[in-house]
Amino acid sequence: MIHTEHRDDFGAKMGMWLFIFTELLLFGGLFIVYAVYRSQYPDDFHIAASQLNTFIGTINTIVLLVSSMTVAMSITAIQKGNKKLAMSLIAITIIFALVFMVNKYFEWGAKVHHGIYPGSELMLTLKRGELLFFSLYYFMTGLHALHIIVGMIILIVAFVKVKNSKINNSDYVLLENGGLYWHLVDLIWIFLFPLLYLIS
């Protein structure tokens, strides 16, 4: 088979990495805000962080780590020309992403039920440091959850393209880039989890 179209897989990959850098700097900035306020209000952060549900946080960490493995394995499957296995592995990853969001719903739901949400009456009566912690908690996990949703959409597109053989064992850079995006979501969570849920 002769390929007449121009393809630059390395360029595509580098472009994806450049985009990932902007995401890392975005979250990096938020982590700096967190670090500065934590150093200024250590006791308030301590009290506020202890109110987060460590169990749900741990479950979601495991969910993201396992889903990172399944998406990485789907690339191996497509490279070996095993289309069916690749599709199953992408589908499993999407299901894990859904599980993460359902957990997040229950976690946030419980917080809102207790009156802790941005702009609530209770939030305004909290001490300055606690208010800052919960605001950062909602903003950082919220922005992260948004990335989970985007990651799910990318994975669904990849799934359809694998099904239509648009992604195949000689052209799979889209799946690789989708995988990179999914791993980015995992990377951010690896730092969010101990900083928000564990250090209390």
């Binding site: 990959k13 990495w17 495991i62 780590l65 990485a72 394995m73 191996t76 791993h183 730092f191 101990p194």
Partner: protein, 94 residues
């Protein structure tokens, strides 16, 4: 390594990587049960950094990617670390 010959990571490697990542997660949860103040934070951050390095190396395939990509990624993390240090110089010694 030629441009069109890709390294294929086998399933077993990914399985081991996941096992190590899960072990490190358990370790972080375990050490935070002991309240060692600053030491706990340091330990949690060190473990998180190790986990991130493992994800970058194996899941994100940097181990088998070109040196240019690896250097670019290293630079970005270095930049973030540098901004952290500079910010704290300002806040701690003003």
């Amino acid at each position: 390594m030629t441009m069109n010959k890709h390294h294929i990571t086998d399933y077993k490697t990914y399985g081991w990587v996941l096992a190590i990542l899960l072990f490190l997660t358990a370790l972080t949860v375990y050490i935070t049960w002991f309240d060692l103040k600053a030491l706990t934070i340091a330990a949690a951050l060190v473990i998180a950094s190790v986990k991130v390095t493992i994800v970058l190396t194996y899941f994100m395939h940097l181990k088998y990617d070109s040196l240019v990509l690896r250097l670019m990624v290293a630079m970005v993390f270095l930049l973030i670390a540098l901004v952290f240090v500079l910010t704290f110089f300002d806040y701690l010694f003003r």
